[in-house]
């Protein structure tokens, strides 16, 4: 393992983990609204888990998924139904649901074997719509479009109800997810996936079984999304199909892109950036803008998103992570930086 991660400095990881676990305490001391911030962080955490999987699928393997919100939905509803209607204990659902969604990934991955590029993006988009509608149609279990109340997680006899508890539950999994994600990315699997993205013919010629790896990519991203779905359902206590729409799928792709596709840390950073921006930063400038134009919050948020995404694509196609890689290289070489701009 040492030589795999040779180019990185691993010692700060335990410090970061400690920081993550101490953050709520810090927040509680600093602000009386700490519960709300934990809530935002929880949402970010759930999306991080999903996006690590999405990154492996779309960033590493190049299989564009514009319907990933459907995976999240399947995970959420599956767990909600299993726990509340079938009596499955939450801890079991944590294992079963991701697997179910992973298998579901196989179903969606199957067309991917033949369809490629933008057609695949459209197919996944179609699956997004189809899955959402099918969830509504199973009215007996899902209450249709009205939404479903979900019970709180019960782990080892302890009911996890408040945002505080949710945070620790979620972030434990976030850390595990990221570590596993990086292991996959830096392993033979990761390299094979990237080879597929760069050139299918070449990959095949090098002995990589395309079908196997593509399905594997869908399966893995399904597992991640399933885990995110379980956590999402039980910490939100109410889920409805309204949430899992095409816009959410697009947001996920944006998060991965902004962070820098084909980088696990990039996915994490992109997700954090977008979620924090959306929930904390934008409301700040919202009031100023509302004085200027007679307009409403939601539109400003969308506008800012669109603008940020657009600007990132134009100026920073490598995303946030790319930005830092560049900065890191810059500092490494300092003061011997070459004249021309890094591209």
């Amino acid at each position: 393992m040492k030589d795999r991660y040779d180019h990185e400095n691993l010692y700060w990881i335990p410090i970061l983990i400690l920081f993550v676990f101490l953050l709520p305490v810090f927040l509680k001391g600093v602000s009386f609204s700490y519960k709300y911030y934990l809530f935002v962080l929880n949402l970010a955490g759930i999306y991080i888990i999903l996006n690590v999987g999405l990154d492996l699928l779309s960033g590493f393997t190049g299989l564009v998924s514009l319907g990933h919100a459907a995976f999240l939905a399947v995970g959420a509803y599956t767990s909600a139904i299993m726990v509340d209607q079938l009596g499955v204990p939450f801890s079991l659902s944590l294992i079963l649901s991701p697997i179910i969604v992973g298998l579901f990934g196989f179903i969606i991955g199957f067309p991917a074997l033949r369809i490629s590029g933008m057609y695949l993006g459209l197919t996944t988009m179609g699956f997004g719509f189809i899955v959402k509608r099918i969830i509504i149609s199973f009215r007996e279990w899902t209450q249709g479009s009205a939404g479903l109340e979900v019970s709180s997680p019960i782990l080892f006899g302890y009911t996890i109800k408040s945002d505080w508890d949710n945070y620790y539950l979620i972030y434990t999994f976030v850390i595990i997810a990221i570590i596993i994600g990086r292991r996959i990315a830096n392993s033979k699997i990761g390299r094979s996936l990237m080879a597929i993205r760069d050139s299918e013919q070449a990959a095949e010629a090098s002995g990589i079984n395309l079908s196997q790896y593509k399905m594997l990519a869908f399966f893995i991203s399904g597992i991640y999304a399933g885990l995110a779905g379980v956590l999402f359902a039980h910490t939100s206590s109410f889920i409805s199909t309204d949430h899992f729409d095409i816009l959410l799928s697009i947001y996920f792709i944006i998060m991965v892109l902004v962070g820098g596709a084909s980088s696990i840390y990039g996915a994490v950073l992109g997700t954090l950036f977008i979620v924090l921006l959306d929930n904390l930063f934008v409301p700040l400038i919202e009031d100023q803008i509302q004085l200027l134009f007679n307009t409403q919050a939601g539109d400003i948020q969308s506008l800012i998103f669109g603008l940020i995404m657009f600007l990132f694509i134009i100026f920073q196609p490598m995303g946030l992570y790319g930005m830092w890689l560049k900065m890191r290289i810059y500092w490494k070489l300092f003061p011997f930086n070459p004249r021309q701009r890094f591209t």
């Binding site: 149609s137 892109l257 969308s302």
Partner: protein, 309 residues
Amino acid sequence: MTDILSGISQEIISGIALGSIYALIALGFTMIYKATEVVNFAQGDLMMVGAYVNFFFVSTLLSNSGEPSTWTFLVALVCSIIFSVLFGFFLDFIINRPLKDQPIFSVIMATLSLAIIMRALVAMIAGPIALMPLSPFGDGSITFGTIVISILDLFIISSAIILVIIFYFIFHYTKWGIAMQATSEDPIAAQLMGIPIKKIYALVWIFSALVATLSGILLAPRIALLDTSMGFLGLKAFPAAVLGGFGSIPGAIVGGVILGVIETISLGTLSFHFEWIKEINDIIAWFVLIAVLMVKPDGLFGIEKVKKV
């Protein structure tokens, strides 16, 4: 039996009208894709912008003249066309210039972000009050036996046909059109042959904006209330374009019409006789898309692309 038959015939006619609108939007996609390989996710929202802009022109003219007349609509139409040409040019400018060296995926994501921006801007500028677009043809309709078709629908169908013929002609029989095809096949070779590809790209975007605006103007009276979510109808045009084969203009029309008909029949007769169909009405288009892609990954009329390693 005749009951069902007449029901289905009615639905087919309505479906063709609906499909014509899908066809027009798909036409826009296909044109851009054919020339630049870019999938324009903002096509639906371009349509929405066109509809709003036209509404704006119509209401401004109305506030001056009072009573709506053919003249009002015509002037508004011309103004909207001029706007769409300028807007198309503008879009090409901000998308293609900065991103000319980027992989196609980036450009596609750029169109996506543009779609989001356009939707937000229009919503902000238009304000929250719902707008009621006026139909230049009123509510009149013609009846053939048991089949009723509104004049608006007739006009939609005829416009679609005319536009398709015009664009097909342009693409295959004029210098610029052939230049566009050449550019889409191989931009570098085209450049070497002296084709000004930057102008070609601009032209293609202008055409698409034009078609999108026209489809928006035609669609607006059909849906009674203008709303920025009109753009989502554009998403439905994707299956239409793919069905016909991305990159094929007649394919876009065929795809659009087939889709419109399938949707309308499923909403009507099929839903009446089979309860479960009600559940999948709005996603039939996507089922069709996936089914077609599974069988023919390049669409019904698409051409297989052979890429060098």
